[in-house]
Subunit: 209 residues, 2 copies
């Protein structure tokens, strides 16, 4: 994952942050950080801790949209922040830096050293986000739980370069990622084992084809 200030030295980071009118806030665990965000477009960086975007259905169903860990980025440009159904909860003590979107392209900053690197990092981060969403969509468009699992496994194999890998999340979270019922997913996993398509040991999975 690319960090917004990757390959920029501390001095230039400070300079860029000043031009970008960056502000840093620290939140305790379990609060909704979206409740007091202002209306201007912004990009936010999770300096420390982690957060979780959640949405609540009209019939009260909660679903986890996305988890963002330390170093991760989110923003009003890429997410409907002002949606009553969406909340963003800190999972632990979390420090977040906000930068104003409009200041990204002001004249002052464009003359700053490392500005091009900063822009390139930002473009990389946004591109990576599109790619991640494409992967998720590729999974979600599969019709059956089996095909969703196999697509997820295929992506893991392609990322790790090995047919044996340990899934980086719990099965409960995986079911959420695939948007299927957890117990139905467990059932399908045993069918896959019965059919000799996968082998499992806890969260370690081996594709056998």
């Amino acid at each position: 994952m690319t960090n917004l200030f990757e390959n920029i030295n501390e001095q230039n980071i400070r300079k860029i942050k000043r031009f970008l009118r960056a502000t840093t806030t620290t939140y305790p665990k379990g609060v909704n950080i979206l409740s007091n965000v202002n209306q201007d477009d912004f990009i936010a960086i999770v300096d420390l801790g982690s957060i979780q975007f959640e949405s609540t259905d009209y019939n009260g169903n909660k679903s986890i949209i996305e988890t963002i860990n330390q170093g991760g980025t989110f923003g009003s440009l890429t997410f409907p922040i002002n949606n009553e159904e969406v909340s963003c909860i800190t999972k632990e003590i979390t420090q977040i830096t906000y930068i104003e979107y409009d200041s990204i392209t002001n004249d002052e900053i464009s003359k700053t050293d490392s500005y091009i690197i900063f822009i390139k990092n930002l473009i990389k981060i946004l591109s990576d986000q599109v790619n991640e969403k494409n992967n998720r969509i590729e999974i979600l468009t599969k019709k059956t739980t089996r095909d969703k699992l196999l697509e997820y496994f295929k992506q893991q194999v392609s990322e790790r370069g090995s047919k044996t890998f340990t899934i980086p999340i719990s099965f409960t979270e995986l079911a959420n990622h695939l948007s299927v019922d957890r117990s139905a997913m467990t059932r399908e996993l045993s069918y896959l084992k019965d059919d000799g398509i996968i082998k499992t040991n806890g969260r370690k999975i081996t594709l056998l084809y």
Copy 2:
């Protein structure tokens, strides 16, 4: 939709394109443009015509991933171009301009007038793409066809600002967008009408709640 060269005059567009080592190709209808794309990262702009990304399953099922019309943008940074399962077919005579990703942040171009505007347009395009994908994911994570339809309708209402709207695609394409069986979707639409939740007239739909 933002155009990559929005708010930049013709002269500066030519200058930027030169620095970006832009090349333009025209394709006849019905060809796969991904078959002869080179390996470097690029961003492509559809100057004229339209294209359609398609993927083919291991069991031969075709699905339409995305349609890009005139003015639209795509690129290797945000899409797995070198995937044997994915093809990109021209739907009509289509002209495409390719720009090299690495040249976006070279030193020459950063001194060009309108460079900041170009960068801002690019960031806007990428952000919009993330937003679109978020919307699609929001739909696809719904468990039932009914909830997928209602989420799609909600997005349309929110975009158009009216509870009556005409869907911009065919019902066949809509079923694809929701990743549900077309006939099952038609069935669910009549249930929604029976239940007094929507009213339809061809592709014109009115939400009644």
